[in-house]
């Protein structure tokens, strides 16, 4: 039975401040742990890079198996861009610029960002769940007892696979989107094919647009992979803990992608 004196204002305030302090401290502590973990992955990456077939295997699971969702989504996003873009552009009589609109939106923004969001929910969650379950079933402990470092053998290959896959998937997403825009704009609506492609070619700058898009998706790849492997490794070794960690991976990395996108965009296109 709680004591009556428990409910005085002073005690309530005291409890509130204690909880607030504990919450903040534990979050900062966790962030520090995540940063040390990030460093540790780099230090332990020798195996993943030397025995590259370990990483290639993970690229198959994270990258290749994400292809379907990335390609199909890219196609649909491009088709929507084709419809919406045409609707707006034709009011100003500039529907010839549809190719530019579709390609710039995709290469600069939608390609890296949407592909990253899809990648986080398709592959990031899978990585977290796999590592978390390996921990829950003592596979990571067993590996450690066999004198094999789980960060080197399990975490680093998955991390690098995510970092390598992300820019490639984003590029494929953009390519597929441009094809979708072409299908709708040129084949369905009847925008002039010549100006669709030639205006695109004239206005998309390799350094300013394409490379910046690749840099973005590379950064997103680092963020997603880092969050996914960390959440898995740090998961509480129970069914509930693993499911919570999987959810956190998707939520945290989605927010982090959008925030990082804003920062990167502000840095890259400051001349505008």
């Amino acid at each position: 039975m709680p004591d009556a004196s428990d409910n005085t204002l002073g005690n309530k305030l005291n409890r509130f401040l204690t909880n607030l302090g504990a919450g903040v401290t534990s979050r900062i502590w966790r962030l520090g742990f995540a940063c040390r973990f990030f460093l540790e992955i780099f230090l332990q990456s020798g195996t993943a890079l030397r025995r590259f077939n370990l990483t290639i295997r993970e690229i198959y699971f994270t990258g290749v198996l994400s292809l379907i969702i990335i390609l199909v989504s890219g196609l649909f996003v491009g088709m929507v861009l084709g419809l919406q873009g045409y609707d707006t552009l034709q009011r100003y009589g500039s529907s010839d610029a549809l190719g530019v609109l579709v390609s710039l939106s995709l290469v600069r923004e939608l390609g890296p960002v949407v592909a990253a969001l899809l990648f986080a929910s398709r592959a990031g969650s899978a990585i977290t769940a796999e590592i978390g379950l390996m921990k829950a079933t003592e596979q990571l402990s067993a590996m450690e007892m066999m004198a094999v470092n789980p960060i080197a053998r399990v975490v680093a290959p998955r991390f690098w696979a995510g970092v390598i896959s992300m820019p490639l998937l984003a590029a494929l997403f953009s390519a597929m989107g441009i094809f979708g825009g072409y299908l709708i704009g040129v084949q369905l609506i009847g925008v002039d094919e010549g100006s669709f492609w030639s205006q695109m070619q004239a206005s998309v700058d390799f350094r300013e647009d394409i490379i910046n898009g690749v840099i973005k998706s590379f950064v997103f790849g680092l963020i997603i992979s880092w969050i996914a492997v960390f959440e898995g490794y740090d998961a509480e070794p129970t069914a509930e803990g693993v499911s919570g960690a999987t959810t956190r991976t998707v939520v945290t990395s989605s927010l982090a992608i959008l925030a990082a996108d804003f920062i990167l965009t502000a840095l890259m296109f400051r001349g505008l």
């Binding site: 039975m1 079933t137 003592e138 596979q139 066999m146 094999v148 053998r153």
Partner: protein, 277 residues
């Protein structure tokens, strides 16, 4: 670095005055234990008494707060990670539910350490893996995945994996938990046979009295983080210590109370009644 090379008479594992706690909750207090070479030693006690913690201290996964843990003449908790990994290459550990790598076949599980730690050619690894699997009777199951194995089979594969590099020390964490009687005696017999064939020493952490007393040379009884009794299997069976007696004969009440510590029930009832009035 390591002290002078150990002699044959020196015990393989020696714990002296080991204390361990999680935060402020003490788990082990004043543990003294020796594991002689070539013997099978059991650590028994009820769930949560600190048995598994003892194994983790010996394997270097945990560090004692005070006291010494020595394995083969080396102070485990004083080793750096390279030294610890070198030592672990000579230890095998069987985890409670096997802890097989679920993304690898039985064959690859057993071959795992050979591939990680040696440069042996693949044909030789094949022969070694088949030999290990044969010794646990599962050569025919080499291409199955862990999800296709029964609990007893998984335990046997894990056993083959634990002895893959012919360790000097094999540790078993609850090897008998959740097995049917046939699998139980198979595992028991394998533990003894592998220990003697490899010239290794074994530590079994278990609460399965009948099965382990059949195969072990010496028993330590742990209760609430302290060693309460020790002796050979015969001595333990004949023990008059109340705790050991209750444990061996599986009595529901005794020195280990049936009730989780609580206030007196009568007192609690009275309080509820007066609270309602």
């Amino acid at each position: 670095m390591a002290s002078a090379s150990p002699t044959v008479d020196e015990p393989l594992v020696k714990l002296s005055d080991v204390n361990f706690a999680y935060g402020s909750r003490p788990i082990l207090t004043g543990i003294n234990m020796t594991i002689p070479r070539g013997k099978v030693v059991a650590i028994m006690g009820s769930s949560g008494c600190g048995k598994t913690t003892t194994l983790r201290l010996i394997g270097g996964q945990l560090r004692p707060i005070s006291g010494e843990v020595q394995v083969n003449g080396q102070m485990v908790h004083a080793l750096d990670s390279t030294g610890l990994y070198d030592l672990r290459r000579r230890m095998g550990m069987l985890f409670q539910f096997g802890a097989l790598f679920t993304d690898m076949s039985v064959y690859d599980n057993v071959a795992f350490q050979m591939r990680e730690h040696t440069d042996l050619p693949e044909p030789l690894i094949h022969d070694l893996v088949m030999m290990k699997l044969h010794s646990v009777g599962l050569r025919g199951a080499h291409d199955l995945m862990p999800s296709e194995l029964s609990g007893g089979m998984a335990r046997r594969v894990a056993l083959a994996r634990a002895v893959a590099l012919d360790p000097m020390l094999i540790m078993y964490d609850e090897p008998f938990a959740g097995l049917d009687p046939i699998s139980l005696s198979i595992i028991g017999e394998l533990i003894r046979r592998l220990n003697d064939a490899l010239g290794a020493s074994s530590i079994i952490v278990t609460h399965d009295v009948q099965e382990s007393l059949k195969i072990v040379d010496y028993v330590y009884f742990v209760s609430a983080g302290k060693i309460v009794a020790e002796g050979t299997a015969e001595e333990i069976k004949a023990s008059k210590t109340p705790y050991v007696h209750q444990f061996i004969w599986g009595e529901a009440d005794g020195p280990v109370p049936f009730q989780y510590p609580a206030r007196s029930y009568g007192e609690e009832m009275m309080e509820r009644i007066s609270g309602r009035a």
